[in-house]
């Protein structure tokens, strides 16, 4: 493999990886607030893409308006999910709640199929079919959108958690929910906020990636699983670790295609899971240690 090829795979890997990273971050936020692994995370991604398709492609809304509205709509779905399915049972064992999220995931996927149909829907790239050439490496402009918005989201989230009182209160709930209650923080409101935030991030991931992958009702499961791999690699509960984990999965996946012998590139989806299994065998606490409440 030439250096140019290697760089090309890296660029593609980092791009899809940052989408996995956003999904991983979504997992982390809900996990930190509730201890739940939300299996409907992938459906948030899918709904982001599909709602964006309706607004941007079908209704011809301007890009930014469609993007903001789609993110807001999915955040609202996240809030409703918490309100209707999690809050009534919040005192149940975590396993029960996780099973509920599996149910919600099936429900959302079915609803999406009814509304948008079974076909994958094409979304044009935000800035057309152009590429930027760095030497001989082509960087599609959509990749820049993905990377730019991911960085923006991560930085924005960091600022939110470190510099706003609501962000600090969300951290406080994750650290010690009873002490947070004694400080006058409404834990149920923070849990609701975490669902909104997590859904919004996943929706953003779904929106920026859909010009590359098409928007389809059933794309959620795989994206969610890869995002989850990112979460585990980064160390469950560690926000920045989760993003890094997602990026690592993306890079390994694309390099895997590059290095795989002819005819085996179709196994790219398996790489993430091989990495996940290795990680769980060798270092179950993740690459970035066991600092459950340190990160985002």
């Amino acid at each position: 493999m030439s250096l140019a090829e290697l760089l090309q795979y890296l660029v593609t890997g980092v791009t899809v990886g940052s989408v996995y990273g956003l999904v991983a971050l979504g997992f982390t936020i809900i996990y930190n607030a509730t201890g739940i692994i939300n299996f409907a995370q992938g459906e948030f991604v899918v709904l982001g893409g599909l709602i964006f398709y309706s607004l941007y492609v079908a209704a011809h809304l301007p890009l930014v308006a469609a993007l903001v509205l789609a993110v807001a709509a999915v955040a609202l779905i996240g809030v409703l999910m918490e309100r209707l399915t999690i809050r009534p049972l919040i005192n149940s064992p975590v396993v029960t709640l996780i099973i509920i999220t599996v149910g919600v995931s099936v429900l959302l996927r079915g609803a999406a199929k009814l509304i948008w149909g079974p076909e994958a829907l094409p979304v044009p790239p935000f800035s057309g079919e152009h590429s930027l050439f760095v030497g001989s490496v082509a960087v599609h402009l959509q990749y820049l959108w993905v990377l730019g918005l991911t960085v923006l989201a991560v930085v924005g989230l960091r600022l939110f958690f470190d510099h706003t009182i609501v962000g600090k209160a969300m951290q406080a709930c994750a650290i010690n929910s009873e002490a947070a209650q004694l400080a006058g923080i409404s834990v149920s409101r923070m849990v609701q906020g975490s669902f909104a935030l997590s859904a919004a991030l996943s929706a953003l991931a779904g929106i920026v990636i859909c010009p590359i992958t098409l928007a389809s009702y059933d794309g959620g499961a795989l994206l969610a699983l890869k995002g989850f791999c990112g979460t585990i690699i980064g160390g469950l509960g560690n926000g920045l670790g989760a993003v890094m984990g997602g990026v690592i999965i993306g890079i390994l996946e694309k390099l895997g295609i590059g290095f795989a012998p002819q005819g085996y590139a179709g196994y790219q989806d398996a790489f993430a899971f091989v990495v996940l299994l290795l990680m769980l065998f060798i270092r179950p606490s993740g690459l970035f240690g066991r600092q459950r409440t340190e990160g985002i």
Binding site: L182, A183, G184, S186
Partner: protein
């Protein structure tokens, strides 16, 4: 010390952990500007009583009123807004967050109401009360020593500007000198107008600053009286002041 009208009343409070009957008809009251000590052995129901007051545990039966208002069934954050804050057993700080952030979070409801300037003034006041916290403002609260953590836990509770401050074992695990300082601070807070309900294993220390006290045993209040009465009481001396009573 002049004390005022009744601030907190519990009457006939029964509470359960699942099937376990932990509070069996607990009745007690705290007057304004009083320090009331709640004594008893481990498992007597002291902490549960405090959890019930702060709405972390809902009583099965019985009434709890604060400043004339029935507070049973309120959410914990609503109780905080009414003016009750608790320094929980074992400090329960937000360890990864800084000292300053812990204090800010203590004033969460006021910050959400947009009263930031007032909150920042209060933080300065806490730093006057506990200068060491001022020196460590940016430090991770989990890295403080036990005594400093207790000061921060008290400071965080004070940030809510409570009318009633509840402290659960504030001296547990502290060096005697530090414990004495904490006890001193508590009596100082009362003289500034805060009403205090104090749970403390060290009965002598608690009664040295308290006006009145209650003794709990297996979920019931078995004895009540003024601090002097309790200090003189033979049962209290035997059970809670222990053999080192002679050293006083």
């Amino acid at each position: 010390m002049m004390t005022g009208s009744v601030l907190l009343t519990l009457s006939g409070v029964n509470a359960y952990y699942g099937q376990l009957h932990v509070l069996k008809g607990v009745s007690l009251h705290v007057n304004e500007r009083e320090i009331v000590a709640l004594l008893g052995a481990n498992g007597a129901g002291k902490t549960t009583t405090l959890r019930t007051i702060c709405a972390l545990l809902k009583p099965a039966t019985g009434r709890i009123t604060f400043a004339g208002k029935d507070i049973v069934g309120m959410r914990p954050e609503a109780v905080v807004r009414l003016g009750i804050t608790q320094v929980p057993e074992g400090r329960q700080l937000f360890g990864p967050l800084s000292v300053r952030d812990n204090l800010l979070l203590g004033a969460y409801t006021r910050l959400c109401a947009g009263r930031k300037a007032e909150v920042l003034e209060d933080i300065e006041r806490i730093f006057e009360l506990f200068p060491i916290l001022g020196e460590r403002a940016g430090q991770r609260s989990g890295s403080l020593s036990g005594g400093e953590q207790q000061m921060l836990a008290i400071g965080r509770a004070l940030m809510a500007r409570p009318r009633l401050l509840i402290l659960d074992e504030p001296c547990l695990g502290l060096a005697p000198l530090v414990a004495r300082q904490i006890i001193h601070t508590i009596s100082q807070l009362r003289s500034q107008g805060t009403t205090i309900l104090l749970v403390e294993q060290n009965a002598r220390a608690a009664l040295s600053i308290a006006d009145r006290g209650y003794v709990m045993e297996t979920g019931k209040v078995v004895l009540e009286g003024s601090a002097e009465e309790l200090l003189r009481n033979r049962e209290v001396r035997r059970a809670y002041l222990g053999k080192d009573y002679e050293e006083v």
